[in-house]
Symmetry: C2
Subunit: 216 residues, 2 copies
Amino acid sequence: MTRPSAPSARSKVRRLRELARYDRSSVNAILDEATVCHVGFVDEGQPFVIPTAIARIDDHAYIHGSRVSRMLKQLAAGSSACITVTLLDGIVVARSAFNSSMNYRSVVILGSGEKVTGEDKKIALDAFTEHLIPGRTADIRVSRSKELAATTVVRFGLGEASVKISEGPPSDEKSDYESNVWAGVIPLRLQSGKPQPDPRLKPGISMPAYIGKRKT
Amino acid sequence: MTRPSAPSARSKVRRLRELARYDRSSVNAILDEATVCHVGFVDEGQPFVIPTAIARIDDHAYIHGSRVSRMLKQLAAGSSACITVTLLDGIVVARSAFNSSMNYRSVVILGSGEKVTGEDKKIALDAFTEHLIPGRTADIRVSRSKELAATTVVRFGLGEASVKISEGPPSDEKSDYESNVWAGVIPLRLQSGKPQPDPRLKPGISMPAYIGKRKT
């Protein structure tokens, strides 16, 4: 099987290239499991990295936020950006500090965004809600015009997306396998806890099943 | 009590300023709980955002990596960077999509790094190990010269660090509190699972107590 190669020079993974993947299904699987992404943009030469929600529809990753935010203004204007999603899977406890590392799955998307408007904007906003809380949109009121107007939605194509996956047990120096020190992996997972009802919840409102079923 | 204000114009939080903090103890608490950070840097006008380990010693955040990595070369050369740490605490399920959000604690550090060498480099590398696995450095061999030579360590002052903390229940539109829809917070936490011994572990080596005690 031939694996897809990097779609562009700048999106090619530089370090530990053997961990790189460029196929769309690997990209999608990581984006669809993400709770947040980190968006990089440049303002007067200074890079900024801001955490925000992400949702995917088909071949695009979507970002949203306040219409007046500097980040959204820049992204909507088509500034160069980098969107990175990192899922942490474990701490790799090797027999040396040098070979200790982390297991993770990450996606790095390079490119410029395009502003999303009209019906597509409403579909995208629903996607954010459904991505974090599947089943929620059927339960809440529709967004008001002023709420839609206060929100900017930007989407990025996945044409320059790269994946890096680090998994499995430590890889140690040959001589270190003779050492008597423990080695292994401490798994990590972003886990949901017991939902906490809003103290201002009206009496008699019970938690819907979809809230407790949220995947993590 | 007067809370510290932003140390510089560019490090001032722009959006939701009421969530901002600039005191060093808030910065430290978040950095010390971090498993990874996301480093932003610019290469030929294109921002890149890369996840990597972070450790703090006193008034500096430390980053390390391969000597030949583009990121480490740039950081060691003093390029403008942004280091962001995000701890996700929950999904805020409001009565409208518009007011739904996330609870989080984040730190954004702006500035240029300085390369760390000599004894300070060894101290920093131990700090990465101890940060992720407290107790580990006493158990493993010291790093070899070639391992130290293959690794670059860069540190960033915390002078331009800002914190943003979003916590508590949803804040809904006044009229939405009359709605019959459930609202609350789904807590999120990066949790450690049961440590998995390396399949190549020599027989008879048991897991040290510090591995199981790792905080998350």
